[in-house]
């Protein structure tokens, strides 16, 4: 090998190396970024809380004062009511409004056993004042049995003042008016699951039977070749166009069910059409791997074509079909453009099939699109999405590896 050739070789290898390491670098920085920014906000309560904060008026039936021991952690900012066994602290929200947050509730505190009096479906239910609840007003009885109020809407505007007054004057607590924290993503998680469920319900039977028809039943001719080509092309259509098609055409279909707005159902119809090419392709690939000799064996034993498909071909294509399912799930979780049009961008805490809702990805879009972008929440959701999508993809890789090993005889 002469010198010039060697130099060229080295140059080529280094270019490959540089681009490869660039790719790895970008990937790692995305992860580091999302994990660093998102991990702080990510919590169990974020997963299970509502997004919208709600107002609650909770009655305690004039429960009398008692004597509770303050918690060991005595912090400067926290003020504890020995009479009723709970702590308060001052805080501010994003818009710099003053807040009074519940920081501790003792185990036997009467605050665990309030009754909701706000009108609505929850009226009359027992409710505990949750941690981080935003206390607006506390109504209590003083020594002369007069009803008095403290809290931001009452006489005192700081945690210290409110607790001090309760400790001096109160003999019983009558009612607490508070706001739940909000900022959670439970609704969007449910909406995502609903969308996944509905979409798979429609797209799997359609896609799998179409693939079976094309690969196992239909004769190989111009028409089926043409169908195949059309499906391939469908795979290349940008998702925003599917979204447009969803609102303009599929909307009429959901209209037949009496749905007049954007809805989870409309989103699932749109995703179904979007995912058909993926499912058909993956299923067909899974069918191709099943050796023809097995079909021959089955037919030669007097099995019908249908029996051959259901007893021999499909069971052996199952891992491939499973990976098609998992890939579809990860596509649904990651999709946003098509869903903004078809499911809307309004976050719903109790999503319904017939109403609009946001999936996790669209939730990010919504919290970032407002006047005050909530970057922390957005990265925390991104973290969840990344973990889910990555998990699904790794599972698919493992499955593929196992399939390949199985037929490597």
């Amino acid at each position: 090998m002469n010198k010039a050739r060697r130099r060229k070789d080295i140059m080529r290898t280094s270019v490959t190396w540089i681009s490869a390491s660039l790719a790895v670098l970008v990937l790692t920085s995305i992860f580091v970024f999302v994990f660093k920014r998102g991990a702080g906000t990510f919590s169990w309560s974020m997963l299970k809380d509502d997004y919208w904060s709600k107002n609650y008026l909770v009655a305690f039936g004039d429960v009398a004062a008692n004597d509770f021991a303050p918690p060991d952690t005595d912090s400067e900012d926290e003020f504890f009511s020995r009479k009723f066994g709970f702590g308060l602290a001052d805080s501010v929200d994003k818009e710099n409004n003053q807040l009074m947050l519940v920081t501790t509730v003792s185990a036997l505190s009467p605050l665990h056993e309030g009754t909701i009096t706000t009108a609505g479906p929850d009226q009359g239910k027992v409710m505990a004042i949750p941690l981080n609840a935003r206390i607006r007003r506390i109504d209590y009885l003083d020594q002369e049995n007069n009803v008095k109020s403290t809290g931001l809407l009452g006489q005192d505007h700081s945690a210290e003042g409110a607790i001090e007054r309760l400790e001096q004057e109160a003999t019983a607590i009558r009612e607490i008016y508070f706001q739940s924290t909000g900022g959670g993503i439970r609704g969007s998680i449910i909406a995502t699951l609903m969308l996944i469920g509905l979409t798979l319900l429609f797209s799997l039977p359609l896609g799998i039977s179409a693939a079976i028809y094309l690969h196992e039943v239909a004769p190989r001719n111009k028409v089926t070749d043409w169908i195949r080509a059309a499906v391939e092309m469908l795979a290349g259509v940008p998702s925003i166009i599917f979204g447009l098609m969803g609102v303009s055409m599929l909307f009429r279909v959901t209209n037949l069910f009496g749905i007049t707005t954007q809805s989870v159902l409309l989103g699932s119809f749109t995703m179904t059409i979007m995912l058909l090419p993926l499912i058909m392709r993956q299923t067909e690939e899974a069918l191709i791997v099943v050796p023809g000799s097995l079909r021959m064996a089955s037919l030669s034993l007097g099995a019908s074509t249908t029996q051959t498909i259901f007893k021999v071909v499909l069971p052996n294509a199952l891992p491939g079909i499973l990976s098609a399912t998992l890939l579809s799930m990860s596509r649904i979780i990651g999709e946003s453009a098509a869903l903004i049009f078809t499911m809307g961008t309004a976050i719903s805490d109790s999503p319904k099939i017939s109403q609009g809702a946001t999936t996790l990805a669209v939730h990010i879009w919504t919290v970032m699109a407002g006047e005050q972008p909530n970057f922390e929440l957005a990265t925390a959701i991104s973290l969840l999405i990344l973990v889910l999508v990555l998990g699904l993809n790794v599972t698919v890789k493992l499955l593929t590896y196992r399939i390949n090993k199985k037929w490597q005889v």
Partner: protein, 251 residues
Amino acid sequence: MLAFKVENLNLWYEDNHALIDVSMDVPRNQVTALIGPSGCGKSTLLRCFNRMNDLIPKTKITGKILMKGDVEIRDPSVDVVKLRTDVGMVFQSPNPFPMSIFDNVAYGLRCQGIKDKKQLSATVERSLRQAALWDEVKDSLQRNALKLSGGQQQRLCIARAIALEPSVLLMDEPTSALDPIATAKIEDLMQSLKQMYTIVIVTHSMSQAARISDQTAFFLLGELIEAGPTAEIFQVPKDKRTEDYISGKFG
């Protein structure tokens, strides 16, 4: 008695004339060997007997194959599925289903809609015994069939085919993927199976044809050159080309 009577059979794959005017008899309860150089149409003829050629698009067939004397097997009134339960097939390379040994043998019966457990296990045992595999697998019927050795797999495929109690067993080079010991086992097996079944076997081994078959048919480029009792074909071939092929001068 004849199992099959082939009359003026022609077969085209598109414009490839693969079988040319073939007429021959396949006697019952005998082993008939089909021999000839590669590409002469042996497998094609074999697949005509259970109509597996139906699955290959763009094939055209003329002529007749009469089964048990009078039934034309390509007649519209003949149910292919039923025909294939009566004419079993064993392929060149073992192709057990990736399921348990038991399920492999019971497959054909279950496709017939037979669910009775007793009947199934009785048939599985009988078939495995006839295929000389029972003693080796009787304690592990639930094992995956792919875990068996190549020779065992091929005997399993034979058991699977005879579980349906066919009258004919078609075998396309059933021992070409096997070692001499496994081959000997399968050859022994064929000798005992011919008491109950008519066997048509394709083979490239002259010695195998001579050892196991009662009848031999020699093909060349789609044409049947000569057919008759094996002893005659091997000792006093009428056609020069048969003699050349048997003595290894070409092929």
